[in-house]
């Protein structure tokens, strides 16, 4: 068996573009799913029964459906529901955001619940409203505390973006698989793909470790 690694170099432009889309999808998902997660968490914590019920349904649904199914579902259902033809990238983004928002909501909930009651009371005793106390006192502490968890979610998310390749988003996985089927260089492309994911993912994982050490333990 002869291996032809030249194919990787030959398609470097396409692969680089795929990497760019993978990073863009990860960044965009997190940029939406962090505020999204906070919003869903606040819904779950609401004193209005219907609102907290909706929040719970959101979390329990999108957390417990396989992401790949969510991607397919968004691809077929979204155009029907909204009557808009989304691009593959936007469709993938919606699916990722629904899933990661649900996870983030639970992470934020754990973070907020870990802040002792006295902090909220001190803010309320000064005359802050519940939302002011949340914004100024509870959330900043909670976010700091859950930063390591968010970072881990980020690393998983980075790899999970490969799932949107099933609806032909031209990110790294899809690009590599396309090149594979055009050139029949299966082993080379899969190896290259693995290497690229690892090379990009490893520094992120190290960064997460660093964040764990820096912010992991407080008080």
């Amino acid at each position: 068996m002869t291996l032809d690694w030249n194919v990787v170099w030959q398609y470097r432009g396409d692969l680089a573009y795929g990497v760019l889309l993978t990073i863009a999808l990860t960044v965009a998902t997190m940029a939406i799913a962090v505020p999204g997660g906070i919003a869903v968490m606040l819904m779950r914590q609401s004193h209005v029964r219907a609102v907290s019920f909706l929040g719970t349904v959101f979390v329990e649904f999108f957390r417990n459906v396989p992401l790949i199914l969510l991607v397919y579902w968004a691809f077929y259902v979204l155009p029907i529901l909204t009557d808009i033809q989304f691009s593959a990238f936007a469709t993938g983004l919606v699916a990722m955001c629904l899933n990661v928002s649900a996870y983030n909501a639970e992470t934020f909930r754990a973070g907020v619940n870990s802040i002792r009651k006295g902090q909220l009371e001190a803010a309320m005793a000064m005359g802050m409203s519940r939302s002011q106390a949340m914004r100024k006192v509870v959330l900043p502490q909670a976010i700091r505390r859950i930063l390591p968890v968010l970072a881990s979610t980020w690393v998983s998310l980075f790899k999970d973006t490969s799932l949107v390749s099933v609806i032909a988003v031209g990110e790294l996985a899809h690009t590599a698989l396309q090149i594979r089927s055009q050139t029949f260089r299966v082993l080379e492309m899969l190896t290259a793909m693995a290497a690229i994911y690892w090379l990009l993912g490893y520094p992120q994982a190290k960064l997460v470790d660093w964040i764990h050490r820096k912010y992991g333990v407080t008080e």
Partner: protein, 258 residues
């Protein structure tokens, strides 16, 4: 009761805080069983008594951190409102100091003191910071404004907490066992700040186990036992000639001998 009331500081004026038969239950446990008392303008009222006798709960009913189940709390002539929005306006006029300080750990000392006026009153940030700095100097921590709470001793943290409460220009200060979580050597610095505050005429309600502080600084003592005020009076009377057997045994347990 009349004679004692008129004998009190500013007893001829309407009280700042008045408790009318306050009842508070936690489940089947009755923590406050009909407490009536008043706090006059400029008075330092100390709440003493054994643990679990309801002192802290009454204090927390004052600014509605706990809502009384029965009776009422009247602040400056108005019963405490029912809605959160109205309560916020009342709480702004009451400063509270907690046993565990409850400083905001993600803010510096200066930010802790300035955050209330900026967030709640919409104060100009530069002015609020200048005022916060002045308050930190007042509690002897003018050089510590840039420190986070974790870099301060317990006594320093509690003094920042007092400055934080003062930043809202409260009409009354509520102290919930402010020295109970402190090392013995830092208790004095906190009590000194409180004593100076009292001398400036601040109205103060203090839950405390520091009997010598109560003796020296309070104008009026409320003795709690099992959710009731069993005895009240000026410190000289309570400490030197307690009439209630429970007061006598409580004080002797603490080793108080006049």
């Amino acid at each position: 009761m009349e004679s004692t009331v008129t004998g009190r500081k500013n007893g001829d004026q309407p009280p700042v805080v008045q408790y009318d038969g306050v009842v508070k239950r936690f489940g089947s446990l009755t923590v406050l069983n009909g407490v009536s008392a008043r706090v006059n303008k400029g008075e330092v009222v100390c709440l003493i008594g054994p643990s679990g006798s309801g002192k802290s709960t009454l204090l927390r009913c004052t600014n509605a951190l706990e809502i009384a189940d029965g009776g009422r709390v009247v602040f400056e002539g108005q019963p405490l409102p029912k809605t959160e929005a109205e309560l916020r306006h009342v709480r702004r006029r009451m400063g509270m100091v907690f046993q565990n300080f409850e400083l905001f750990p993600h803010m510096t000392a200066l930010e802790n003191v300035a955050v209330g006026p900026i967030t709640i009153l919409g104060a100009d940030p530069a002015e609020a910071r200048a005022k916060a700095q002045a308050l930190l100097e007042k509690v002897g921590l003018g050089a510590k404004g840039g420190n986070h709470p974790s870099a301060l001793s317990g006594g320093q943290q509690q003094r920042v907490a007092i400055a934080r409460a003062l930043a809202m220009d409260p009409d009354v200060m509520l102290f919930d066992e402010p020295t109970s979580a402190l090392d013995p050597e830092t208790i004095g610095e906190v009590l000194n700040v409180m004593k100076r505050l009292a001398e400036e005429g601040m109205t103060m309600v203090v839950v405390t186990h520091e009997m010598s502080f109560a003796r020296r600084v309070a104008n009026w003592i409320l003795v709690f036992d099992e959710g009731r005020v069993i005895e009240e009076g000026p410190p000289a009377q309570i400490f030197d000639a307690p009439t209630h057997a429970r007061t006598q045994s409580f004080l002797s347990h603490l080793g108080w001998n006049g």
